[in-house]
């Protein structure tokens, strides 16, 4: 079966429709994401990136248009647990230890105790928090909590990964290491990814395509294909990388100019 990983057609999302406080969060969104593709979503604050992610996750329903995930309606895909998600807030369960937080999605998939424990420890190792497995979230810094949330999202090896600014609270070194790890995981498991970020270099480094959005109303204003091939030590210094950054910046400028002209 080769249905695309995600397909949005003619998607609009209006919050509080017909009521005071009506907000058009997204208009006319068409986007097809191939299996194994890495998409970065970038755009100014409030342009509807989180909303788009939540539509794909079927946490909210579109006002019109259709969302399909792995060839199924988004709702069916959610019930089949076709994706893993990391939110803008870490959202850890404060009454569970770090390790048991990472174990939760595995527990809900009915994995055995030993198996899920091993997987959770492996994931914590990955995000550099193996020593904190027995701590409670309240004993961790914000960035560390965010890393636990990433470990939790990765733990199930979902076919589709939805991440909302997951690296926003991390220091530069951790961030770059986790970017490489994320690419490695997605590469080896063939995971499709939608990754929201505010960082242009991060978007360019990670993505196969950078989707640029603009606000009021939220919409996709450009898609920048990135062709850097295999990411290596030198990628971040390569001319191709800087060309990508320039292109994305130009696309974002375009949205800024458009916003400016509206005023």
């Amino acid at each position: 079966m080769t249905a695309p990983a995600v397909e949005l057609t003619g998607v609009n999302k209006i919050f509080n429709q017909g009521r005071p406080g009506e907000v058009t969060a997204l208009t006319g969104v068409d986007l097809t994401i191939a299996r194994g593709e890495f998409i970065a979503l970038i755009g100014p604050s409030g342009c509807g990136k989180s909303t788009l992610l939540r539509l794909v996750a079927d946490l909210i329903a579109p006002s019109s248009g259709t969302v399909t995930v792995a060839g199924k309606p988004a709702r069916k895909a959610r019930l089949d647990q076709e994706y893993g998600i990391a939110f803008q807030q870490a959202g850890l369960f404060e009454w569970r230890t770090v390790r048991r937080n990472v174990e939760l999605p595995l527990e809900l998939r009915g994995q055995g105790r030993r198996e899920r424990r091993a997987r959770a420890e492996e994931m914590l190792e990955l995000v550099g928090l193996a020593d904190f497995a027995r701590h409670y979230p309240a004993q961790l810094s914000g960035g560390m909590q965010q890393r636990v949330a990433i470990a939790r999202a990765l733990a199930v090896h979902p076919p589709l990964l939805l991440m909302d600014e997951p690296f926003g609270a991390l220091d530069e070194m951790t961030r770059e290491r986790l970017q490489d790890e994320l690419l490695r995981i997605c590469g080896t498991t063939g995971t499709s990814t939608i990754f929201v970020t505010h960082s242009i270099p991060e978007a360019v480094y990670l993505a196969d395509r950078v989707v640029v959005m603009s606000p009021r109303p939220g919409r996709i204003t450009g898609i920048v294909p990135i062709d850097l091939g295999e990411r290596t030590e030198t990628t971040r210094q390569s001319p191709g990388f800087f060309t990508g950054i320039t292109k994305v910046r130009a696309a974002l400028r375009g949205t800024e100019a458009a916003v400016g002209a509206e005023r």
Binding site: A57, R78, D80, Y83, I85, G91, F93, L104, A138
Partner: protein
């Protein structure tokens, strides 16, 4: 008074420090927590003694602490016996009231409508002097029955536990809800994994308030008749015989009992919600 102590104030300072230097920090923390109230109490008692002796205050107005203490040691056997009776009543009522309150809160938490209706109703009922029910209940049962006092305690306990538990059950972090939705986990799974553990701290806040109230209710309900084998009956009879220091000695016994209940509730809270101790 202890019933009104704010949750964070009551819970945090005594927290056993976690981590490697647990014991060392624990002792230091304990000293810091225990010392100030002890100093204040000793100073207060000293001042009280001084005022009563120097000012020649009549014993029926206010007996000296030394006189109360003397009576306390003299009547210690009786205090323990009646205290056990009152303590049993308080405990039975506390357990009963808590169970009913938790079941009611879970039922109300499941339906938005029920919750919205029951909170103001419960708050209004809570403002009534429930202790005033004691004479009515006493007349409903035989004079040798333990039931009336225990019922009064259960009713008194119900409200703080119910209101706090319901609040805890209804307050769910939106990210937690989204996350569980993404796992396609609803219904009982959601309740078991998110609602109940999330509500625990609230339940214990209610239980801590209820624990002191339970003792007060168990003691005071004896003032209104019924079986006379607890601390309350001794306080009234001593006062009726103008044996004021002895009445105060039994009041002291009731204080100790209330404190014991409170501390046990606090201890249970620590054990049940280890993630909140830092």
């Amino acid at each position: 008074m202890s019933v009104l102590v704010d949750r964070t104030v009551a819970a945090d300072p005594a927290g056993p420090a976690r981590g490697r230097s647990r014991t060392a920090e624990g002792f230091k923390g304990l000293a810091l927590v225990v010392l100030p109230p002890v100093v204040v109490a000793v100073a207060g008692l000293g001042a009280w003694e001084a005022i009563v002796t120097v000012g020649r205050v009549a014993p029926f107005v206010l007996p000296a602490p030394s006189a109360i203490w003397e009576q306390f040691t003299l009547s210690l056997d009786t205090i323990i016996r009646t205290g056990t009776a009152s303590g049993t009543n308080a405990l039975v009522g506390l357990v009963l009231g808590t169970i009913v309150a938790l079941l009611a809160a879970m039922a109300a938490g499941r339906f938005r409508f029920l919750a919205e209706v029951s909170v103001p109703v419960a708050a209004a009922l809570n403002a009534l002097p429930i202790i005033a029910l004691a004479p009515i209940l006493n007349n409903m049962f035989s004079a040798t029955s333990n039931i009336p006092r225990r019922l009064v305690v259960a009713i008194v306990v119900f409200f703080p536990v119910f209101i706090n538990a319901l609040r805890g059950l209804r307050e769910v972090d939106p990210t937690h809800r989204d996350l569980m939705d993404s796992y396609a986990a609803g219904g009982w799974t959601f309740t078991r994994l998110v609602r109940l553990p999330g509500a625990l701290p609230f339940v214990f806040t209610g239980l801590r308030q209820a624990s002191s109230l339970a003792v007060i209710a168990a003691v005071v309900s004896e003032y209104f008749g019924g079986l006379q084998d607890g601390l309350g009956s001794r306080i009234t009879s001593a006062a009726a015989n103008t044996a004021y220091p002895r009445a105060w000695a039994f009041v002291l016994g009731a204080c100790v009992l209330g404190l014991v209940f409170y501390l046990i509730a606090l201890l249970l809270e620590r054990v049940a919600t280890p993630w909140r101790t830092r």
